[in-house]
């Protein structure tokens, strides 16, 4: 394994390329900015609910606006397209080019994607900061410590999404359906992640499931931390759940990688 200084150089270089790739087409950037607005559609639904029946599970108008505004940034920063990309790499044989380099293909792909996320952050975080200052209904009331923990959870959430995506990506060594399998997993989990609504709004059974399963750690946890809506015990349990799932999926990726690569057929060419 290369020394830390060399690893930093490798990551910086890959991230620079990922950043450059994401910026290569203006149309792509415009579409990305539009997709960041999707959570605001869910927000309008919940605002009309609050208007009709009042606050729901402790979430009032200001709470929902803040949740989805912060969520719009968190969703973009903790998402990962690596499962589909990997599926393509294996199916078309492009993985061969990455395998020939003296750095793990997983590092290469994640490095590129982190670069793309840096661009997402550079575009969306300033908008969120300005909106927080300008809109009285948007309030990030957590302490500085909450904000720091929220950013840590955001990084952890991206790492967990990526580890989950890579676990399914490794299925590509056995099946050509890894991307679709991941879509199924993520589709089922989106509801429990806090994508559709804050987890505390869900029925008790789903709330219990959300507390155990990995999805909430990737979306709901960082949002609620940044908004300062969790007490110390909830923060400890949330961070421990995130760390536990991250460790479990990291081990799964390593095991599947070492077995899958032996089956790799390096098709084409």
């Amino acid at each position: 394994m290369p020394p830390v200084s060399e690893r930093i150089v490798i990551w910086r270089s890959l991230m620079r390329v990922g950043f450059g790739q994401a910026l290569a087409y203006r149309g792509q950037v415009a579409i990305f900015l539009l997709t960041a607005l999707f959570p605001l559609v869910m927000m309008t639904v919940w605002l009309s609910v609050v208007e009709e029946v009042g606050p729901t599970a402790g979430w009032d108008r200001q709470g929902f606006i803040s949740y989805y505004a912060v969520g719009a940034v968190v969703f973009q920063l903790t998402t990962s397209s690596i499962a589909w990309r990997w599926d393509d790499l294996v199916r078309t044989g492009e993985l061969s080019s990455l395998l020939l380099r003296p750095v793990s293909p997983l590092t290469q792909q994640v490095g590129l994607e982190v670069g793309q996320r840096v661009l997402s952050a550079a575009l969306l975080v300033p908008v969120l900061v300005v909106a927080t200052i300008a809109l009285p209904d948007l309030s990030v009331s957590g302490s500085v410590m909450n904000l720091i923990l929220g950013v840590v959870a955001l990084g952890g959430g991206y790492a967990l999404t990526t580890a989950m995506a890579l676990t399914f990506a490794m299925v590509a060594f056995w099946s050509t359906q890894s991307g679709n399998l991941y879509a199924l997993w993520w589709g089922a989990g989106a509801f429990l992640a806090g994508w559709i609504a804050p987890v505390s709004v869900l029925p008790p059974g789903l709330r219990r499931a959300a507390a155990i399963l990995p999805f909430r750690s990737t979306v709901g946890l960082p949002i609620e931390l940044i908004l300062g809506r969790l007490d110390t015990a909830q923060i400890v349990v949330g961070m421990a759940t995130l760390a536990g799932w991250l460790a479990a999926f990291t081990v799964a990726v390593r095991v599947l990688w070492s077995r899958g690569i032996k089956r790799h057929q390096a098709v084409g060419g």
Binding site: L14, G20, Q21, L100, R101, P102, A266, G269
Partner: protein, 334 residues
């Protein structure tokens, strides 16, 4: 050094007939076939050698190269390259080889070429001084100057191939696996790539294993060839010896001042074409000098020339002969 002993790589390949019915049937039951892409191949290549790896399509050339580069785990047998077992994919091993595939793109498609080279600098841990030296050398040998800042997707095939070579050789590898490096290039492009490979081999003493369907690539770069067909090694040795074995004749062309009966030429060799004053004949190598002397003594010769058959024709003969042999062996087994 490259050492290959009893290498085999088998694949399980699924089959499905055309049509909706077959698609549905394949959901429940799929037909598989075991393909022996490489079967019990052994050879050894010394440091600094340039070896042509020849065979018809589907012969097992690329599969062998992929095993040597660590992309595939062998089904059986052992492979050692520079003292490493390739499929362990150690960073020290990968830093000393390159595998350039004519139809594969290793560059970042949407970015200028220099970005891919910069990433390789980081990945291969090339210091700034060596990077500059290496890049200057490659820019000079491959004429890359105007291409470095161009988006890769905007490059022509020939330009892209030159950039691929630069990306593959920036870290100055000791072993080069080149799979069809001139595929699709025009004559000028082919020539440029050939000269570059020869120059690189001379300057850095690198070992080169090259596959190509263009015989000119092989004849201009390699003295030794390894011939593989149906996954089995058929020949390993001097290219000139192979040509002599496969084509034990030369072409004698004669032009006369006065016409003679066409049957006259048959007394000198196997007539390929004749029109009374001009004839091309296939003559056994050992008899060439004697036939030429007789022609000059017995006929009104204006001009006589002796040529080697083209390498393309020779290889076609070799592959056709091997195919016939394989069919005969299969028939005998049945």
């Amino acid at each position: 050094m490259i050492e290959v002993e009893g290498l085999a790589r088998h694949f399980r390949v699924s089959h499905r007939d055309a049509g909706l019915g077959s698609s549905l049937k394949a959901l429940l039951h799929r037909r598989y076939e075991l393909v022996r892409a490489v079967d019990d191949v052994s050879f050894r290549i010394d440091d600094g050698e340039v070896v042509g790896f020849l065979g018809p399509n589907g012969a097992g050339k690329t599969t062998t190269l992929k095993c040597l580069a660590g992309l595939l785990y062998p089904t059986h047998g052992t492979v050692r390259v520079l003292g490493f077992t390739p499929n362990e994919r150690r960073a020290e091993f990968l830093s000393r080889i390159t595998f350039v595939m004519g139809q594969r793109n290793q560059l970042f498609w949407d970015l200028p070429t220099i970005e891919s080279l910069r990433v390789n600098q980081a990945i291969y841990r090339i210091g700034d001084t060596q990077f500059k030296e290496s890049l200057d050398e490659l820019v000079d040998l491959l004429g890359l100057e105007p291409l470095l800042t161009k988006q890769v997707r905007m490059l022509s095939l020939g330009e892209r191939m030159r950039c691929e070579l630069a990306a593959g050789l920036l870290h100055r590898p000791d072993v080069l696996f080149l799979d069809e490096p001139t595929l699709g290039l025009d004559v000028r492009g082919q020539g440029a790539v050939r000269s570059f490979i020869a120059e690189y081999n001379q300057r850095h003493g690198a070992t080169v294993l090259l596959t190509s369907h263009y015989m000119a690539d092989v004849t201009s770069l390699a003295k030794r060839v390894v011939l593989i067909d149906h996954g089995v090694l058929r020949y390993d040795g001097d290219l000139a010896d192979l040509v002599e074995q496969a084509a034990p004749f030369r072409l004698v062309t004669v032009t006369l001042s006065d016409p003679v009966e066409s049957g006259v030429f048959a007394g000198y060799g196997e007539v390929i074409e004749s029109d009374g004053t001009h004839a091309v004949m296939r003559v056994p190598r050992a008899a060439t000098r004697d036939v030429a002397s007789r022609l000059l003594a017995e006929l009104p010769v204006v001009d006589v020339s002796i040529e080697e058959p083209s390498i393309e024709d020779t290889m076609r003969t070799v592959f056709d002969q091997r195919a016939t042999d394989a069919v005969s062996v299969d028939a005998a087994r049945e």
